[in-house]
Symmetry: C2
Subunit: 192 residues, 2 copies
Amino acid sequence: MKASKVYRPANATTRDPRALKTREALRGALLALLDDKPLEEITIRQIAARAGVNYTTFFRHHTGKEELLDEIAASEIQTLFELTMPALDADDARAGSLALCRYVDEHRSLWARLLTGGAAARLREEFIRLTREFAAEHGSDHEWLPPEVGVIFGAGSTIELLTWWLQQAEPISVEKFATIHERLVVRPLVAK
Amino acid sequence: MKASKVYRPANATTRDPRALKTREALRGALLALLDDKPLEEITIRQIAARAGVNYTTFFRHHTGKEELLDEIAASEIQTLFELTMPALDADDARAGSLALCRYVDEHRSLWARLLTGGAAARLREEFIRLTREFAAEHGSDHEWLPPEVGVIFGAGSTIELLTWWLQQAEPISVEKFATIHERLVVRPLVAK
DNA sequence: TTATTTATGCAATAGAGTATTGCATAAGTT
DNA sequence: AACTTATGCAATACTCTATTGCATAAATAA
């Protein structure tokens, strides 16, 4: 008799339609629940139920709800950077801020859920990682500012400002917000 | 027969030496454990054990470990502001930054544990609240910057920078760090 | 000191949520 | 059609939070 192990379709590269459907359902379920309450108050059972999937199945794809949210956050921020980086490439600070803020504005409800629902810490980590990569190529050096601090500050305060913006019931315009971001975050970093 | 309820010495104003000792032991135990691992990985049982107190007793003083950490964080940040505000009162931006950074530097291990151990969110909230109070009196207005954003940014990025600084094995000097804080956080806020 | 109040220790217990396993079945793949 | 794989389902184990009743010892008031 061969010892049966816990079956795990798990690894994200699966092509099986059934697995893909389940993974998609789980992502959607978590995002839907994040509309109502923060991650800590969401149980795996609730996610599975909302996804129309058996509780056990959740663990065949993810180790926990945090990991699932990580996955979502990482992919979202990846997209954000891919669509925003080009604009940042130019030396026009305001254009970069504007591109970033526009993208977030166009995906408001998703980003609001991620930032205020419990993924802030993970989003911040990914944001820092990608910012670090970017800074390695385009960063400007200052004798008073260690590069890593610039990265932390740039990523951290951007997240900070975005979180505020996304929480507002009647948020200020993208243009005004981009101006704030440019003056408080970008300009101090490039100023000599 | 009178219905016996759960006895709660709880309220922080108790003068009973036994209760005071217990509360102090619990605070110390949590801080000690935060040296090794983040709050999520610490159980109430561990805190109680480390404090040399029965598990049940924990709940007679606190509703959970988060609340206990909140209590510690709130009192620490209160002290920080009381000792730092006077320096901020002067219009000398650098003096304010320096006073704040000096205080944190002198209480390095405690603040490192609070900021990196799980109290960051709570610390941030209190920091924002106190900053808001301060800004209401000393804040400078800009047509491009809603006062509340200035508060969020000032408090948030200060916490952000401090967290980085406190995590370094060989941190830069207080003076250099204060310069960074002044140039990245304070100056952009007061600049016209 | 004596009497009373109050804080803690201890044991029992309940409940929520996480995590795993074996087997059956159905959907996908070759 | 023969196989491989993903999910459903039921059972189960574990950890951690939280409460309760009673006994005891420490603190306070008489």
